[in-house]
Amino acid sequence: MSLLAMQGSVELGIIYAIMALGVFISFRTLNMPDLTVDSSFTLGAAVSAMLCTMGHPLLAIPAAMLAGWLAGNVTALLNTKLKIQPLLAGILVMLGLYSINLRVMFNRANIPLLNQPTVFSSLQGTSLESHAQWLIPLVLLIAVILILYLFLQTRFGLVLRATGDNDQMVRSVGVNTDTTILLGLGLANCLVAFSGALIAQYQSFADVSMGVGMVVIGLASVIIGEVLFGINSLLRRLIAVVLGAILYRFVIAVALHLGMPPTDLKLISAVIVTMALAAPVIKAGLISRRKRHSRRSVHKEG
């Protein structure tokens, strides 16, 4: 694999890591499988691309984040106020957003951003110009990690984490879990849309189906990170998610390099996540088999 391709996958990994951190918020701290992600990623990209074509690449980022936040809020309200299961609430919002995303893109399936200014061109004319592609995402990612690290230790952050652990306990310390879910899913999808917004500008196009399977990629990153880098402390968990996201991109890049057709990407993603999710079961199975085996040999000896 060429150095350029490797650098490219790290750059992508850094941007996708922001999305994976969003998935971490919903999946791990709120303990909710939030499928809104697929469409809020596209929403972020669509809003970002549209504002770029209007000449506002910087404004595009916070606008996309706000849109993602609202999408997460809708899923949360479906769940808390209408008592729709989280999984189904996410699917409904995902479906509805597909139409909205098309509207945002003026009913075009994709928007190219050729020769449009983007956040990546904002360093043009400075000495950092040639590094913009990785430097800007990296700085943003570090900022996101730091903010999350601090936020998750604030009074509200603690309650958010506890909501996923034990919502009964959260209510019994006087906190409305409807509120924590509302803000939690808002934050999660805000990060996802942030990532989508950056990807659109990085790749110079937005596509209405670019978010398909995004939640699985996010999950893969979270789980790969946990398995390989541990879950000991909060900071470590956050960094593990990031490393998981970068590693995932790497694996994909290598697979493509080895001749895998790009159309098989989604299948590979699904297989990776299945394996990662099944890892604890397989591990437990192996241990118990070993135990049974050793007992049998003891019996034989005795």
Partner: protein, 264 residues
């Protein structure tokens, strides 16, 4: 002070499983009163406590805490004034968070919920102090996850969480039922100490008849959703487990059945 008037709760209204779980209950607890609650399986003890805590909305009646009509308040809002310990030791704490984080959340009860630092240094010192009083050696394990603790340790922490901001009412629903005898005894002793220290208005459901008479200042017995016995003072001091069972039989016309009931 707690005042319950004509409280009724029916589950599955209109279905074949319709069940009148709490039937027109009137109950007043004076400040500092510690009431133990006993009764057979399905007598409605948990339902009564859940109606008070806001888990279930009652069909009829009203619930006043001091002068506040809390009948239709949501659960989380009542929790500002009500401390609870559940039967299941897993229910009272967030297992993936540390002891000090759990305590900090409980200590933030009634305070604005924002971006203040979660566990402040001064608070942590206070937590250490309070944990030491539990006599379980937890004061040196502030940064350990609650998931690593035993059931008894968790119940002790939940009890501390329920009282760390002084509640107007403490609800204990068989909070020692899942513990081994020595842990149960320890948690009961802590309960008594805390209740006496803060003069807490308390409702404690127990399946242990002896404990019901030994702890607290008043005992009520429930059957089929109603309170069929309410004793305090002299009458209670002279009560024995045998007499209590006998009284139950006469008032309810049935034998006391509770598969977990302990008579001694």
């Amino acid at each position: 002070m707690l005042k319950i008037n004509g409280l009724s709760k029916t589950f599955g209204l209109g279905s074949i499983n319709e069940k009148l779980a709490v039937n027109n209950v009137n109950l007043t607890l004076q400040a500092g009163e510690f009431v133990t609650v006993i009764g057979g399986n399905g007598a409605g003890k948990s339902t009564l406590l859940n109606c008070i805590a806001g888990v279930h909305e009652p069909d009829q009646g009203s619930i006043f805490l001091d002068s506040m009509d809390i009948t239709f308040w949501p659960e989380y809002k009542r929790s500002q004034y009500i401390g609870r310990v559940f039967q299941d030791p897993l229910k009272g704490t967030a297992f993936d968070m540390t002891i000090e984080q759990n305590l900090a959340m409980a200590y933030a009860k009634g305070k604005p919920l924002g971006l203040q630092w979660g566990v402040r240094k001064a608070d942590a010192a206070m937590f250490r102090d309070r944990l030491a009083r539990l006599e379980l050696g937890l004061e040196d394990r502030l940064k350990q996850k609650v998931g690593l603790l035993s059931g008894g340790q968790r119940q002790a922490i939940t009890l501390l969480m329920a009282t760390i901001v002084e509640p107007k009412l403490l609800l204990l629903d068989e909070h020692t039922a899942a513990l081994d005898p020595s842990a149960a005894k320890h948690v009961l002793r802590l309960t008594r100490e805390l209740v006496e220290q803060y003069q807490l208005c308390t409702l404690m459901v127990t399946h242990n008849m002896k404990n019901a008479l030994e702890y607290g200042t008043r005992t009520i017995m429930m059957h089929d959703g109603s309170i069929i016995l309410d004793i305090a003072g002299e009458e209670r001091r002279e009560m024995t487990v045998e007499k209590l069972i006998d009284l139950f039989g006469r008032r309810s016309g049935q034998e006391l059945d509770n598969d977990r009931l302990l008579l001694s």
